[in-house]
């Protein structure tokens, strides 16, 4: 074999040796461009939100300049955020979880039972979180270790858990009338200067989860497991464990959603969580996380939840009757999917 001392340079300048060391800075390394590339997915979602709001405001400036409309969205949005963000992890790991509405209902039920029994709500929150994570572990283990399709298995678990709630409670709701006297309520769910506090907690949750997703070992492993589980396995990542962890994390989020939903309404309903299934799923995908796994965006998912919860308010606020809501719901989902598809071309 002759030694080829002078490496050849191909058309695009690849595989050259030595020459690169004192090159000018690479275009993708310039700080602004780098920031843009790293955040491209959710910036697209933000664009969708801005355009949508501009259309709504143009249609009816008077309604959209009143704080009341925003306050009502901010009251209900947190519950959706606690569900959407962990679901981004699940979808990134190339799984799906349809059992979170029942997990949310179940954890909220445990919270309501503890508070109703006269214990401090903080204790109730801990109990709810433990319940949610245990249910996540159960669902995750079923999917991962019994090797079931997550789509079907979690759908089944959703029915089973909801059925269990209905059987055990005889479909009776629990009203927590004294909840607003407690410190837990004041800290987590009261209003300060017209701002519902739960939105601040939800935003903190989104922030931590975004860091966890991009800058933590767990987040990176969720990415590689969703991207190429065989490779991850060959490189010593415990693929099954990572998948189960993602489901446990989903259970944690669902539990927080259940607690906040109960605190906001002072009541726990046996159907608590049911209405969130489709909007939360839509939020994840509207937010810019693709269905095939490996990539995604937490911040985008949060903005997706914002978009989805504004559609209904916005369509009615813009002066259209409620009959138009579903149509616009669908329209915005489809338009943002097309937008993300175009945005993601560089990945595939």
């Amino acid at each position: 074999m002759t030694d080829i001392a002078e490496p050849k340079q191909d058309k695009r300048g690849h595989m050259t040796t030595g020459a690169g060391s004192h090159d000018p800075i690479h275009p993708a390394e310039r700080p602004m461009r780098r920031l843009f590339l790293a955040n491209r997915a959710w910036l697209g979602t933000l664009g969708v939100f801005v355009v949508m709001m501009a259309v709504f405001i143009a249609a009816n400036p008077r309604v959209f300049s009143s704080w009341g409309l925003y306050a009502s969205v901010l009251t209900t949005l947190p519950v959706a955020l606690f569900l959407t963000v962990p679901l981004v992890y699940i979808v990134t790991a190339a799984e799906i979880d349809l059992s979170f509405p029942a997990t949310m209902g179940f954890a909220g039920w445990i919270f309501a039972l503890v508070v109703q029994a006269g214990y401090d709500p903080f204790l109730g929150i801990v109990a709810a979180i433990l319940t949610g994570m245990a249910l996540g572990l159960l669902v995750g283990s079923l999917v991962v270790y019994a090797n079931l399709s997550s789509l079907i298995a979690t759908l089944g678990m959703n029915f089973m858990l909801r059925g269990l709630i209905l059987m055990l409670t005889q479909s009776k709701s629990i009203a927590l009338v004294t909840l607003d006297q407690t410190w837990a309520y004041r800290i987590f769910s009261s209003q300060v200067y017209g701002v519902p506090l739960q939105i601040l907690w939800a935003l903190a949750f989104v922030f931590v989860c975004a860091l966890l997703y991009n800058r933590h070992r767990f987040g990176v492993q969720v990415h590689v497991v969703g991207d190429n589980p065989d490779s991850a396995n060959e490189m010593g990542v415990d693929v099954k464990r990572v998948r189960v962890k993602a489901f446990v994390f989903m259970g944690l989020g669902a539990a927080l959603a259940g607690v906040f939903s109960t605190m906001i309404n002072f009541t726990w309903w046996p159907t608590s969580g049911d209405g969130y299934l489709l909007p939360v799923l839509a939020s994840v995908f509207v937010g810019g996380t693709p269905t095939w796994g490996g990539i995604g965006t937490v911040v985008g998912g949060a903005i997706g939840a914002l978009i989805v919860s504004f559609i209904q308010t916005g369509v009615v606020g813009a002066g259209l009757s409620g009959f138009y809501v579903q149509f616009f719901n669908g329209l915005i989902i489809i338009l943002s999917l097309i937008g993300h598809r175009w945005n993601q071309v560089r990945y595939r």
Binding site: D10, G13, G20, S21, D227, M235, G294
Partner: protein
């Protein structure tokens, strides 16, 4: 030769009723290049997957520096200083070069938070070390955008990160251009010169012949020939041997032994 690095004793692997490997004995010494050859289905990939801990052997023993290791798995294999460049390269193509290089052993500090700056610096260093500098991509580039040779480069960069004692290259030249193949050979010589060991698996016997000190020929799950470079006259001799092994009937009349 020098110190014994790793030894497989009587390793067998069966998938249900199918025997992929039936009692393999193989050792690698420090600083030697072992060429592992064999036809499709000979058991090369299965053997490599056992060495790298991806598959568990049905029976047999694995010794690292003379000591047997229990509960062998991918993490333990890497701990023992074995790095593998898999045939499929084991890359997550939607992730960045950095993520791929540190897959399975992320540099993390307090509470599992990543040391992002350290990872990026190390990735840059590794890419430079294997002569993999290009203005077209950065450590934050997505692997899916790279060419086949560049992807192989990422896989190799990952393998040399930990100063591994043994690097396993599973068909590293498949689907590479000539210049890229040359780079891989150049890399193998570099690694050998630094006193580390290599197992080189190849379909192309001329490639393996050029580079290995010792040849191990597998056929249907067993070692049928083990010979050194010094004992082998030419690549053709190896090829002839393999043909006789593969088609014994066709040559039996000619009195092959």
């Amino acid at each position: 030769m020098g110190e014994r690095l790793i030894e497989l004793r009587d390793i067998a692997k069966s998938f249900g009723r199918v025997y992929a490997l039936g009692g393999i004995n193989l050792h690698v010494d420090k600083g030697e290049v072992v060429g592992l050859i064999g036809d499709n289905g000979a058991g090369k990939s299965t053997l490599i997957k056992i060495l790298s801990g991806v598959l568990k052997p049905t029976s047999g023993e694995i010794l690292v520096r003379g000591r047997p290791v229990a509960n062998w798995n991918a993490a333990k294999s890497r701990e023992a200083g074995i790095e593998t460049v898999f045939q499929d390269r084991a890359l997550a193509v939607q992730q960045t070069i950095v993520t791929n290089i540190f897959m399975g052993r992320e540099l993390s500090g307090f509470f599992g938070w990543l040391r992002v700056a350290d990872e990026e610096r190390e990735a840059r260093r590794l890419m430079r070390e294997i002569g993999f500098t290009s203005r077209v991509f950065t450590p934050q580039s997505i692997v899916g955008q790279l060419s086949g040779g560049e992807r192989q480069g990422v896989a190799i960069a990952r393998a040399i990160y930990k100063q591994a004692d043994l690097i396993i290259l599973d068909e590293p030249t498949t689907a590479l251009s000539l210049t890229e193949t040359d780079k891989v050979f150049h890399f193998v010589r570099q690694v050998k010169a630094s006193g580390r060991s290599i197992i080189f698996i190849g379909h192309n016997i001329y490639h393996v012949f050029d580079i290995a000190d010792r040849f191990v020929v597998l056929d249907r799950g067993t070692v049928v020939l083990e010979t050194t470079r010094a004992e082998t006259a030419s690549a053709e001799q190896l090829i002839n041997f393999m043909q006789r092994v593969a088609h014994p009937a066709a040559n039996s009349g000619a009195g092959a032994q």
